[in-house]
Symmetry: C3
Subunit: 377 residues, 3 copies
């Protein structure tokens, strides 16, 4: 039931006002996407699915290649195959052998060398632009010529002083848009995450006054204008119910949250930054890359941060928060929805996808969908 | 395959002559339904699904409440939430807090106390009438004003001298109508249950002559007019194959079987009565409440019956018979069907649903279905 | 995803030129099919599904019978039932008792002997022609009068000197046509099976020149005209990469591969013959019978072959090759496909199904399908 409801959310009208966002069920094409950790892709085929497309990654002689994961002959995944000759991949079934760099069929290891099938137009396999940066393999999924990969990676991750610790989580349920919205969602942290272990060491305000702000470098940020640590609800009483004065130190400085296309959330903490990269696998599955950045050249600072990551950040921040968020993404069932004030950042993000996505505008579909009624403050 | 067949049985023409029965795939609306055992619903949310509707039950200050199990904000089940203030339930995601008695949004624990979302018409959550009787939580599912809950509970269960022992079984497959028909089905007991452990102590006749009888108090009963303990089938031989003279004592007095809306079967035994309450969860899932009633004020009789229940009735009667019945309900694949004489009680039950159900008559659907060919005696 | 793709392959246009082949999703009707090993069917009901039809097999007094596995009353599978009287089967639910030989309802063991339901036309259960040959139970599935079972069994399996060792494999995924094509597929053996354990003792050529040949006895065979043990691919290099001169002995004589309707593949080895019988269960499931034949009357030769079968053939040939083939059948995703020279035998097999199948020609369906582009040499 939840699954069905979620599917309908994927397909139908999340925001009738933003048809390009609504259509992006499988993700936004013409962007570079994090696909794997560099250390995961070795000299054998690595299978990944991005935006509904099956892709095989394969290293050969130090170069990384990406191909559509389907032999043109009879549709067997090439990722089941092997690399019999340098720079090639051979299908496991009949030995159809493709050049990794071009996708061209250069030989069939069960046929004569002058096999007539080689060179035919319908046996070339599609190739994908592939790059490695910051310990991550990036794959370009789209139909137009790709920009440099740097266009789609936050530049501080590429700086000389960057210490990047990345982690991949797969087999996550729910559409990528629900996950990205949960990433930029301002309100839930104050309630859902109040019960996390991380919250033992942190204060959570009752509410905040936030402004959404677009910056020139492509980020949509939430700027905190006022923090209210506790308050009284007329029909309920004091909230939070327990005073937490001793927890307040430092909170206001800790958080600046932003999101950029095609679905990267950044959270600034004192001394380090967290990135959450949401990658659509297909309509109802996602990858997530959790990236911690410490910008320093000092060897001792780097060592200390690695220890802090291993002991605290890995378990309490990514472990705790993200398990909670992912549970919500899987249980969410929209439309209909009834947005409230703090959801302003979600509405602005939807509009940003509508207005700013790369490539040719997608025409309005004729198939009718429902309507949502977002409340805007 | 069986599942597909069963679905088709749920959707299509079980009895073309009785369109309201045919339409009642999800159950009959505008009745009180057994939803949980009283002892199962405590001071935390209890999730239940009835007639295709997700409902959360929650006690607060001694009062039991029922709400639609869906936060109006982003569709998270309220049953994941918590009760932060008396008489309310707060959604786990953003702290949307609803008054249990009215479903009204009375505060959002991640927003300012004067949040503009409170009071909007689209954020009120539907409430369900809920009552407790005979150790069971009853929920009214319907669209018209509910009658008193006593209208839908056999009155002897509510009497002062009633000792009620109730049991809930969930995750049962098959449409509720197949289960209710199996409950009133006269013929199968004589063949299917002949192999049950219970049968070790009981005689089963070869056939009976039965009359279906409607009574003023809403019951449709099978009245036994003749019992034939054994007989000869011209093309087969003697049935039962083994004589069972020593088992016959008491049988004739033991059984009076009836059914009433919206799906309660009663079986009268010497000294106690069994009720089977069939509750639709959705098209292909059911709840079942098995209720044993002993009407006595004597403390020793009550104690004896509790022992008899624990040692015999629980295991041999409910355990054995119901496992057999539920297997049949899950394997049954109709239409088509070819009813025989003893199925007369099924046909009369279908007609009773058609004629007597509460509420506005449902118009005949235009979508055509198949036809069945019930044999009537 | 693979499953969806496979389903589409089952339904859509595998070979637009051959509509009768394309339509044979559930198999080819009006043939005898291997259904079970004789030793598997004993004196209790045996359930099998062939060409989408549920069938119950039952021995009675030495005679084997086949009935549609569905009681006419309420659709319970008769295979859950029992044989209460010789030559009959009784439904578990209400004791509807059918004559095995005719499918006629001869009594209802929960109703009076003169039950009016007996003799009605809609309660007769369909019977299936059933025969036993070569240790296998054969069932005729079709709409026209059956030919003798010998018409659909390779005659050498029925000869006096035949030692037949048969094995059944069930719960195999993928449409039967993909499996039959993998059986006759010439090219894959040289690449896929090169990595099998069996290959340790065998040589595999680089390529062969093969001719497809129809014979009068219904077999379509691949006749090897030239074997090339190794060769040079201009853009790749020498293949096979390692010399295998010591393996070559005997290979050329070992193989003659043929296929006949409705889906039996024969592979001739020196001294024995292997048969693979592909049986459609439904759109995406199959049975497979693996049959080894040794034609000899000598008791010592028979004993030696049994040992060879138990030690080598069973594990390395059937175990190894068929696990590989079945993996491919399950992963294959067509259309589209791009056939190459060695697929000539597949194309000829498709045409043979189109032209030669028994029974009334099936009209061209109006629903459009895709088009494939088979390369023919």
């Amino acid at each position: 039931m939840q699954v069905e409801a979620r599917r309908s959310a994927s397909n139908r009208d999340m925001a009738a006002a933003f048809p390009r966002y609504r259509q992006a069920v499988l993700g936004i094409r013409n962007y570079w996407y994090a696909a794997a950790l560099s250390r995961e892709v070795r000299d054998r085929p690595y299978k990944v699915r991005l935006l509904g497309e099956d892709i095989v990654l394969q290293r050969s002689g130090g170069t990384l290649h990406g191909l559509r994961d389907r032999c043109a002959h009879r549709g067997i995944p090439l990722s089941l195959g092997s690399s019999e000759y340098p720079g090639t991949i051979s299908c496991r079934y009949h030995g159809f052998t493709y050049e990794l760099s071009s996708g061209e069929l250069v030989g069939v290891l069960s046929d004569r060398p002058d096999s007539r099938i080689c060179g035919k137009p319908n046996v070339r396999v599609k190739t994908y632009p592939v790059e490695e940066r910051a310990g991550i393999v990036w794959v370009y999924v789209g139909d137009e010529p790709p920009p440099p990969v740097e266009a789609d990676i936050p530049p501080e991750l590429l700086a000389d002083d960057a210490l990047v610790i990345a982690r991949r989580r797969s087999q996550l349920g729910g559409n990528w848009r629900l996950a990205a919205e949960a990433g930029i969602d301002e309100g839930h942290a104050r309630f859902l995450h109040r019960t996390s272990l991380w919250a033992t060491f942190r204060a959570f305000p009752a509410w905040t006054q936030v402004r959404a702000q677009r910056s020139d470098d492509g980020w949509l940020s939430r700027v905190v204008e006022h923090i209210q640590w506790d308050d009284d609800h007329p029909r309920l009483g004091k909230w939070p119910k327990k005073a937490a004065w001793y927890r307040r130190r430092g909170f206001g400085a800790a958080r600046l949250v932003g999101i950029r296309l095609p679905g990267i959330v950044r959270v600034n903490f004192a001394g380090w930054t967290s990135y959450e990269i949401y990658v659509p696998v297909d309509e109802d599955q996602r990858l997530e890359f959790l990236v911690a950045l410490k910008s320093t050249r000092s060897r001792s600072s780097r060592l200390l941060f690695r220890m802090r990551y291993a002991l605290l950040i890995h378990w309490f921040f990514y472990g705790g928060f993200h398990a909670q968020d992912n549970e919500m993404v899987q249980m969410m069932s929209i439309p209909p929805e009834a947005l409230y004030g703090p959801d302003r950042s979600i509405t602005v993000w939807r509009k940003m996808v509508q207005d700013d996505v790369r490539g040719v505008p997608v025409p309005m579909p004729s198939a009718g969908g429902g309507t949502s009624s977002p409340e805007t403050t």
